[in-house]
């Protein structure tokens, strides 16, 4: 009998830290790099089915050009989704409509095959721009559709919008986002410049996805293909970052710092009194860095102890473990060093905040704060070698001296450049060398 072996994802971890603490010191910082290889394709590794939902804004503001681009893009997405994946298409305006499959009850998703793919594309072809925008309702419909297929182990959606969430209050949208936490992942894309980066980022961050601006409708199909391709390459449907700390210790923060900055600190749930699990979503062949800070009760010089066990787990199965250590020492040459990785990502995290705070101050007309924050951002981007951020910043401010962060706000800023700077603010670079 032939033996068929499934591809098996392999996780490895590396810890970067200075484990030496000066007498009386309590805070341990570490960067934990987790790498996944041989992840396999989503839904094809034998661990269960995956579902993919395409959510398209069909509000009146989309107009003819954007609507046509969105239709083209949604069809490309459908073409890219692998056979066997459960799919649904949502058309959203001030209400949420299940465009495909056209069912009113029961399972709200169907398996992709040549027939259903053609039907899905026919449904997309009938979209026309009309009505307002209520993204919370779109998310809640997606949740219900995913829930209607109990066998799903991986759930991913892409959401396209062009405008503000006019037909829902902030509270309503927030409640919907909360309702979808841990239910599925969403990558969000905004077309044009009439949408709010902060609004869409809120959705993407909570639901473990990405956010980006697409200035030109022509780019949309390519963007959708890339998003679906990446989603389909995530053979590990759901994994959690487990952080164990010793009794009496405290987690100060847990952040993903690469490829993007995402603060996970308040998103953990308790596994046992000493272990918290933070959501990380699906994994493909990729590498992510996490910055962990743990506060310990100070111990005597010479003591060595574990400050944290950082693990990646699917359910109860621990796939890799990194050990964060603490050694108290009287040797200042050991304790004074700062890990280059910790220093780098501390700078990158501050860079992301400086950009977001600077742009937000500018939007509120507070040019003084905006100049100061964006100046600091230019300085940090230069120091940490983040050329992408430096280039984007240069489109929003005139840089007099990057080293000191001396800048002047540009008089005329392309709105798309500003939004691109905002959406890309959380993207980090790896340390050089």
């Amino acid at each position: 009998m032939p033996v068929y072996t499934e591809p098996m994802a392999v996780f490895t971890s590396m810890v970067y830290q200075n484990e030496y603490l000066a007498d009386g010191s309590t805070d341990v910082n570490a960067i934990v790099r987790i790498e996944c290889s041989d992840a396999g394709a989503a839904g094809q590794t034998g661990v269960g089915d995956v579902g993919e939902i395409v959510i398209v804004d069909t509000s009146a503001s989309m107009g003819l050009v954007n609507m046509q681009a969105a239709k083209d893009a949604a069809m490309v997405a459908v073409d890219t989704i692998l056979d066997g994946t459960y799919v649904a298409i949502i058309a959203g305006n001030h209400r949420a409509y299940l465009a495909y499959p056209r069912v009113t009850s029961g399972p709200g998703m169907v398996r992709m095959d040549p027939t259903t793919r053609a039907q899905a594309k026919a449904a997309i072809a009938s979209f026309r721009a009309d009505g307002g925008t209520a993204m919370g309702s779109w998310l809640m419909l997606a949740r219900s559709l995913f829930r209607s297929i109990p066998s799903l182990v991986g759930r991913h959606a892409i959401l396209l919008t062009d405008g503000e969430n006019h037909n829902e209050s902030v509270t309503q949208l927030d409640a919907s986002i909360r309702g979808c936490l841990g239910e599925f992942q969403v990558d969000c894309r905004g077309i044009g410049v009439e949408w709010q980066v902060s609004e869409i980022r809120k959705i993407a961050q909570a639901l473990l996805g990405t956010v980006d601006v697409i200035p030109s409708p022509r780019e949309l199909p390519g963007v959708f293909r890339d998003l679906i391709t990446r989603s389909m390459s995530r053979g590990v449907p759901d994994a959690g970052l487990r952080v164990w700390i010793p009794q009496g210790a405290q987690v100060m923060f847990v952040r993903q710092v690469s490829p993007t900055v995402e603060d996970l600190t308040h998103r953990g749930s308790s596994v046992d009194p000493l272990t918290t699990v933070f959501p990380t979503g699906a994994w493909g062949d990729e590498s992510r860095d996490y910055h962990i800070c743990v506060r310990l009760p100070a111990k005597a010089v010479g003591t060595e102890q574990l400050a944290a066990r950082v693990q990646l787990a699917t359910g109860a199965a621990i796939l890799t473990q990194g050990l964060v250590k603490a050694k108290w020492s009287a040797d200042a040459s050991l304790t004074a060093r700062i890990s280059p990785e910790v220093a780098h990502y501390t700078g990158q995290t501050e860079l992301a905040s400086a950009i977001q705070e600077g742009l937000s101050a500018r939007a509120e007309g507070d040019d003084r704060t905006a100049t100061m924050k964006l100046g600091r951002a230019v300085q940090l981007a230069t120091q940490t070698g983040n050329a992408e951020a430096a280039n984007r910043l240069a489109r929003v401010v005139d840089v007099a001296d990057a080293a000191t962060g001396t800048v002047r706000l540009k008089k005329n800023i392309d709105k798309a450049d500003e939004m691109a700077l905002d959406t890309a603010s959380t993207r980090t670079t790896r340390i050089r060398g």
């Binding site: 700390i245 010793p246 009794q247 009496g248 210790a249 000493l274 310990l296 010479g302 003591t303 060595e304 102890q305 574990l306 400050a307 066990r309 473990q321 050990l323």
Partner: protein
């Protein structure tokens, strides 16, 4: 049986018989295991070697172990604070009348000194424990027989070190040894290198029973003060040791006739580095001892004390409480 006939497609083939070899590394005690529970909080240990509750790094049984063959005899062998490996070793045996205590300190710059010290300590202890020479019955002949026993223990310990030395090694394993046999009214001590035996009688002058083989001791023999001799750069260079390239195996020996109760201490330099003079170490012992302190408790407190002073070296201490008036010894 191999036969040849025309029908076989070939002949049977066997590889050449391997050359007869002797095992290079005979069985040694395995000390790579971990204890059952965390020494700090009693929590369960993770397979990563750290406590699952308090995170304390567990010491392997090679890095820290304790022996207490009798209430009046006990010892602790500990990695200390600064060193990455425990090259000290401890072995002891006791019943209610006799005790054998051995401390070895592997030479850091030699290969496999952690294996060598362990092999030496157990070999010397096993040999001295297995034989109980009585001499012709007179006290002096008994002491002479015990001295002969110490000499053969040195030989046995050296064979054990050589047995676990890789013949290819250009940096042959080496270790010090200090041992004491407490037998009836006698303490017999012997050493090679700078591990020591002290005798701390209650209410009388303490003294160091052994005499180091070290450049520091040579310095003192030439008239230097102890403090000066022991703080020189080469003070810790030993002039005799166990190992394949040992100079000789003639130990320094010391004999004590026990006339009052007291403590016998066998230790590595990880302890005496912080209190070398017998009176100084006796003062530390006095601080660590209460009415009903067991030998193991005293050894443990002395190790903790050395670690609190910095623990710059591995530290091993074996103690025996002797009392000529009691049933014990």
């Amino acid at each position: 049986m191999t036969t040849f006939d025309h029908d076989t497609p070939g002949v049977e083939w066997r590889p050449d018989a391997p050359e007869a070899t002797v095992p290079l590394r005979p069985a040694r005690p395995r000390f790579d295991a971990y204890p059952d529970a965390c020494a700090a909080c009693g929590g369960e240990l993770g397979i990563d070697g750290y406590c699952q509750r308090c995170g304390q790094k567990a010491k392997s049984l090679r890095e820290h172990y304790e022996m207490a063959p009798a209430r009046w005899v006990g010892g602790v062998c500990d990695i200390g604070v600064s060193h990455a490996r425990n090259e000290d070793a401890l072995a002891c045996q006791a019943n209610d009348r006799r005790a054998v205590m051995v401390v070895c300190d592997g030479v850091t710059t030699s290969d496999d000194s952690d294996l060598a010290s362990m092999a030496a300590a157990h070999a010397a202890c096993d040999l001295a424990w297995a034989q109980d020479p009585q001499g012709t019955g007179t006290p002096s002949s008994r002491a002479a027989a015990l001295k002969a026993l110490l000499t053969s223990a040195m030989t046995s310990a050296n064979e054990a070190v050589v047995d676990c030395t890789d013949p290819e090694s250009v940096n042959a394993a080496a270790t010090t040894i200090a041992m004491a046999i407490v037998d009836d009214r006698w303490i017999l001590a012997a050493n090679l290198g700078d591990s020591r035996v002290y005798w701390f009688p209650d209410g009388a002058d303490p003294w160091q029973v052994t005499r180091d083989h070290s450049l520091a001791q040579d310095g003192m023999d030439s008239g230097a003060e102890r403090a000066e001799a022991e703080s020189s750069a080469l003070a810790h260079t030993i002039t005799k040791w166990l190992g394949r390239d040992a100079i000789d195996l003639i130990p320094n020996m010391g004999v004590v006739e026990i006339s009052r109760p007291g403590w016998v201490i066998v230790c590595s330099d990880g302890l005496w580095n912080y209190a070398s003079e017998a009176v100084d170490l006796a003062a530390v012992v006095a601080l660590c001892v209460a009415e009903d302190t067991t030998a193991l408790e005293l050894a443990s407190r002395l190790v903790d004390w050395a670690n609190a002073q910095g623990g710059h070296d591995n530290v091993t201490v074996a103690c025996a409480r002797v009392d000529p008036a009691s049933a014990e010894c």
